[in-house]
């Protein structure tokens, strides 16, 4: 790549003197793209090919590879429909609740001065906890809330928690909160900080109370970013697999788990294409979420500069 760059640089130095012919220009511009060729190839092979394969297989019959819609059809009916609904519902709840709570936590610390100890602790802790996911998280919750769990022991007398709930959507929800809330704190904090103090002061100067400031200025300006954060949380929650798998052993009805069950080789052959169909559905949903996210972020960026 360095050689290519040198080759491109040298002729360019001379370009100012004589206008190159069209062929040279084409060749030169092709050479320019050479620099990203390795990257392009890697992404095409490692990401593009699998995705295309899934998209194709989703529409193929499991036995004969003939084009069919039966997989996609099965994917939106019966237990798979339930799985999809559960996943969407769970992700929605795991976006909104952590969204609000995370916002409150972020607000609680953002008014503190830069070097404030508590603020730094919360931010660091959030960074750390946001990355506690997957397997270790599942086991911590087992340690807390399973039949022999430590916390279960504490609250068993109060009858508010049935240990078996841990292995169903309720338990997963609690576990997801563990990284969703800190994640929210981290991603909403920059947005909060994008609120210029001059706006707040100008509002007060104009006679607005704190509440009026939030109602007319702070809230509206923050809203696109907040929405963007919720979308990110939604996407993260939907994609999640490891925690739920480690916690429930693959028994809970969520779309990501179902995909795993269909394709981990322990299941009857002949159902794989259904798994690919489910995979395609997931890709589409998350793609939509990410597109919405970019729109929302662009609006947020316009105001929060």
């Amino acid at each position: 790549m360095a050689e290519v760059a040198t080759a491109a640089a040298a002729p360019e130095a001379q370009a100012t003197r004589a206008r190159p012919g069209p062929l040279t220009r084409i060749v030169r511009s092709a050479l320019r793209w050479l620099g990203v060729l390795p990257f392009g190839v890697y992404v095409a092979l490692g990401l593009g090919a699998p995705t295309v394969a899934i998209a194709i297989a989703a529409f193929q019959g499991s036995n004969n590879n003939a084009a069919t819609l039966s997989n996609m059809d099965a994917a939106v009916h019966g237990t798979y429909l339930t799985g999809l609904e559960n996943s969407l519902e769970l992700s929605l709840v795991c976006a909104i609740l952590p969204g609000i709570f995370g916002l409150l936590i972020a607000y609680a610390i953002f008014t503190a001065k830069r070097g404030n100890v508590l603020r730094r602790v919360v931010i660091t802790a959030s960074g750390v906890f946001a990355n506690f996911g997957g397997v270790p998280l599942a086991f911590l919750f087992i340690a807390s809330l399973s039949t022999t769990g430590v916390v279960t022991g504490w609250i068993s007398s109060a009858h508010i928690w049935n240990p078996s709930d841990l292995y169903d959507v309720r338990g997963i929800f609690l576990a997801y909160l563990y990284f969703q809330i800190p994640l929210m704190v981290l991603i909403v904090l920059p947005a909060l900080e994008g609120l210029r103090p001059a706006w707040r002061e100008a509002a007060h100067n104009m006679g607005a109370s704190n509440w009026q400031y939030w109602r007319y200025v702070g809230g509206p300006v923050l809203f696109p970013s907040f929405l963007g954060c919720l979308l990110l949380l939604f996407g993260t929650s939907l994609s999640a697999y490891a925690t739920a798998e480690a916690l429930t052993g693959g028994t809970v009805s969520l779309i990501s788990i179902q995909i795993g069950a269909l394709l981990n080789g322990n299941v009857i052959a002949g159902q794989e294409n259904l798994g690919y169909a489910l995979g395609l559905i997931m890709i589409v949903i998350i793609a939509v979420v990410m597109i919405l996210y970019t729109f929302v972020q662009r609006r947020a960026a316009r105001w929060l500069r």
Binding site: A2, G134, F139, Y178, A242
Partner: protein, 285 residues
Amino acid sequence: MATVATAERTTPVRGPAARRRSWPVWRWAILLIAAVYFGIPLYAGLKFAGFKAFTQVTSYPQFGSAFALSLRLALIATVLTLVLMVPTTVYVHLRLPRIRRAMEAITILPIVIPPIVLIIGVLKVAPGFLISTPDLLGLEYVILAMPFAYRSLDSGLRSFDVKTLVEASNSLGAGWPTTLWRVVIPNLRTAILSATVLTVALVLGEYTMASLDNFQTFPVWIVNFEQNSGNVSVAASLLALFVTWLLLMLIVTLGSRTARRRGGAEVTLFSVGTRQITPTVGEAE
């Protein structure tokens, strides 16, 4: 203009801004609830596992091979990621700035395609000889690490005026390889280190793809051994968490140090500004 007798003015005048100095109760309440919620599972984990379990972890069967496999994959993934992403990112930054938006979009794709879906696709298209080795995972982890690596390197490149330095270096007679090695990369040290640490943390915690590929990396081992001994699994989990925490602390400290040099910006693992996001390592495994 004459100073009024200060005797009456010794008590500080409580203006409106003064009220903001003390924290309202509700803020403390929220932080307290949060602290409890996040502290309890950690405490429970420690109590559940018991002290002995921690010492037993390393002696458990297959721990060694599983951990070694994870380390090997981490090494492969990290080296490949750096070799692929550093030149590419620098090249795009310097010579193809117009496709930066496309790059950002492409590097978001691994998030759009969740690991669970990615692995099933990979297993479908990969040639037989690759599927039989665990190194396939190493190759795919590069894809998973791409978002962080790109963003880390990209923000590193934005933090100093690359173009000017490169031009200065060239004008002083240095060729491209020298410029890259002596001028660009040294200034990217922190970004490269960040990318490395994030990749390593990602690989060490990755369960989804490894389990579907049927190779026993460390996280897979933890789950497989739950049947035998829950204590040990919990202990191993806590150790894994602790190591991740150390690695992340490393990034934050490094990041803060550079930020302080640049002027006091606070470092988080995210920047939600225009279109940038950097997802987490944990669940996106």
